[in-house]
């Protein structure tokens, strides 16, 4: 499918469009809070899970480790992405866990583990590695209304595109190009740490136009995970691949400025994150970031550090708008609430290790 075809499809969708939904939270009116995440057990079997009311609602086996999950109210689906370099994307009924669709990445491509929805949830965009042509970063386009059929692809604007998100205009996507070249045959080895060029790119999802691109202040700050606030501010977290004794800012925000704005904290606060941010979640002027290597969650407000809490192996993070609290998950099967009062246990599935990211519907 060409860019023009995509554009026409988008325009058709746009005429039917109502209000754009928030980019990060799906809303299931009138239902209890449900938490969606991939997980693995001690026997290293992998599952696509939904947890609610103190128990697992479903636990569907999958072929390998999952990474992120996305909720689509339009098709009432939970979309689970394979972890890099996986080639599967599984769409489950978000209520029952019944299989709705199973998508494989095209030959010579693999998924990076993240996706986002545009055009009133009608189109799914995923980050992909065109490894057959040496590692070009791509965004795959899928039609949610047609069984998540692949309908096109766009250039991601860099190597190693990781997480991407939709801006409030429901058209522009922002993608963190991590800059790190990996190829499926090379055992997840990072092949270009000396020359990597990460960036944050804004792309028009209708035709792939690169609308803007920003680099972090150090070329080894791999931009990976991000979230977008309701007013369109992007907060992106980095993983530093350089000298591990350095303490660099690992979180940046951006909304129209001519460079990425580092969040402010003292060196010791950055050091606590061990050069590694796993998830970023926004809520109003607040942001949390998780670091499994640092075993900590940090809270930021208006770009400034507020609070840090310790939690082993924490990675997943999302905002539960209804409860007004952040939810985090870790490799010990815990789901832990985080607010200004600190941490409190929401639930635990002892036999599971929650994988990197989660989503909440409430």
């Amino acid at each position: 499918m060409t860019a023009i075809e995509l554009s026409r499809r988008q325009l058709l969708g746009a005429t039917l469009a109502g209000l754009a939904l928030g980019a990060t939270a799906a809303v299931w009116p009138g239902t209890a809070r449900r938490i969606y995440s991939a997980a693995s057990d001690r026997a290293n079997q992998h599952f696509l899970c939904c947890w609610a009311d103190g128990a697992l609602q479903f636990k569907v086996p999958c072929p390998g480790r999952g990474h992120d999950v996305l909720l689509n109210p339009l098709t009432r689906s939970a979309l689970y992405f394979a972890r890099r370099p996986g080639n599967w994307l599984t769409v489950l009924d978000a209520d029952t866990g019944a299989l709705q669709a199973r998508i494989a990445s095209p030959a010579g491509r693999h998924f990076y583990g993240h996706g986002t929805l545009v055009n009133n949830n009608a189109l799914l965009l995923t980050t992909e590695n065109d490894y057959a042509s040496g590692g070009r970063g791509l965004i795959g386009v899928y039609d949610c209304r047609d069984g998540y059929r692949r309908v096109g692809e766009l250039d991601s604007g860099g190597i190693g595109p990781h997480q991407l998100a939709t801006l409030p205009d429901d058209t522009t996507v922002v993608v963190a190009n991590g800059g790190i070249l990996t190829l499926p045959g090379s055992n997840r080895d990072k092949l270009n740490l000396e020359t990597m060029q990460p960036n944050l790119s804004y792309i028009d999802s209708r035709d792939g136009t690169l609308l803007g691109q920003w680099q972090p202040p150090h070329h080894q700050l791999s931009l990976r995970h991000l979230d977008v606030s309701r007013d369109g501010e992007v907060v992106v977290g980095a993983q530093f691949e350089g000298d591990p004794t350095l303490a660099l800012p690992l979180l940046f925000r951006h909304r129209g400025e001519d460079r990425l704005q580092a969040l402010t904290a003292t060196d010791p606060v950055w050091r606590q994150h061990h050069n590694y941010i796993a998830s970023v979640a926004c809520a109003g002027d607040a942001v949390i970031a998780t670091s499994p290597r640092g075993g900590c969650i940090s809270l930021w407000r208006n770009g400034e550090f507020q609070q840090l809490e310790q939690l082993s192996d924490v990675a997943g993070a999302a905002f539960d708008a209804k409860a007004g609290t952040f939810i985090t998950s870790n490799g010990r099967g815990q789901l832990v609430q985080f607010n200004q009062q600190g941490l409190s246990l929401t639930g635990r599935v002892a036999e599971l290790r929650w994988d990197n990211h989660l989503k909440v519907s409430s």
């Binding site: 000298d243 004794t245 796993a278 075993g295 082993s312 924490v314 990675a315 490799g331 815990q334 941490l343």
Partner: protein, 364 residues
């Protein structure tokens, strides 16, 4: 006189036996490892850092300072450094909060930040005081900066009047180190923050340790971390082993004081102590009780082999690592560390049904 300790020892043994009754092997492991390894190791660091703080203060208060005084103070620094090396591998509890590890040691120092920042601090306009040091970069707050002051260019200045600013820095860093050591100890101790109690009481309401496996997992992760640190950061990278590129002795730990080999030796002794809990019911015994007597003994033998290989290295790692006489010892140590790592990363967690860091080891 001789009967009293014997009777006391007997009573102590009875008490330990009675308190151990009714406890599961896992509970006994947490108790024994805490009382035989974790607390004593932190206590040693506290005691040595206090001695260093007192000695530094006395040294810097003297009107004249001799090279004999300097040599004695260096020995106190080695003592405190050894105390730190005993707990350096511990990756759970108070040391993981508030960058305490960074405040104690800044290493590796690829850009010679220690020398640069120490000189800036000493030559700056502000008074060299403990609060000023604690506000400054962690790079110059602890043992690493003190090593520079005691063993590098500032050392000879310490003996002259012009060296007073260096001595003020030395004294402030030693006091800061002692405060960190004291803070760590208090936070572990049952009469203080009682992190030991948190670790020894796993359960659903314990956020840090929701079950026994999580608590024992933290111990195994510490063993893995400590062994990896020796293998990769203390041997491979500085000595250019295993395709780690060219040797760069400035990446060695404690290259200025030539204590790299001793630090490894102390790490290995403390890791073995964390494994065995002395003669207590540690991980070593738990493996035997789970029918893995052979694995348990094999790991003990590997620790013994690694320790004797390290002890047999002649001279210092920075100057003598290339000498033929040391090649066998270094290779044996390196290979043995690989075997220990395989045991702690795979066989032992599998045997005990324990999951080590999941997301923390992910890299995505």
């Amino acid at each position: 006189m001789t009967r009293l300790p014997t009777r006391f020892t007997f009573l102590l043994a009875v008490c330990i036996f009675l308190s151990a009754c009714g406890k599961t092997p896992e509970q006994q492991l947490l108790q024994a490892t805490g009382s035989q390894a974790l607390l004593p190791l932190h206590e040693k660091f506290l005691a040595e850092s206090l001695t260093l703080a007192q000695s530094s203060s006395a040294f810097c208060s003297q009107r004249t300072r001799s090279s004999t005084d300097l040599a004695a103070l260096r020995n106190r620094w080695v003592g405190a450094m050894n105390g730190w090396e005993g707990i350096q591998s511990i990756q759970f509890g108070p040391v993981t909060e508030g960058n305490r590890a960074w405040k104690v040691q800044f290493w590796p120092d690829r850009k010679n930040l220690i020398a640069r920042k120490t000189e800036q601090f000493v030559k700056g306009d502000d008074a060299i005081t403990l609060p000023a040091l604690q506000e400054a970069s962690v790079v110059i707050q602890g043992l690493s900066a003190m090593e520079y002051l005691l063993y590098d260019k500032p050392a000879e200045k310490l003996l002259r009047d012009e060296g007073q600013p260096y001595c003020d820095h030395l004294r402030a860093a030693a006091t800061n180190l002692h405060q960190v050591a004291d803070d760590l100890y208090q936070r572990w101790h049952p009469k203080g923050g009682n992190y030991l109690g948190t670790w020894q009481s796993p359960g659903p309401d314990n956020l840090a340790y929701p079950d026994r496996n999580a608590a024992i997992g933290a111990l195994i992760e510490t063993l893995v971390y400590g062994l990896e640190r020796i293998k990769r950061d203390k041997l491979e990278r500085p000595l250019g082993l295993s395709s780690a590129g060219q040797a760069n002795p400035f990446l060695l730990e404690w290259w200025r004081s030539k204590q790299s080999r001793e630090a490894i030796l102390i790490n290995l002794h403390s890791l073995q102590l964390l494994y065995s809990a002395g003669d207590g019911a540690g991980l070593e015994e738990l493996l035997s009780r789970r029918g893995k007597e052979e694995l348990s003994q094999q790991v003990t033998a590997l620790f013994d082999r690694a320790i004797s290989a390290t002890a047999s290295i002649e001279g210092s790692l920075s100057e003598n690592h290339n000498e033929a006489v040391n090649q066998t010892a270094i290779n044996t140590l390196h290979q043995t560390l690989g075997e220990l790592l395989a045991a702690f990363k795979r066989e032992i967690p599998t045997t005990l049904g324990i999951t080590l860091g999941f997301n923390a080891n992910d890299g995505d």
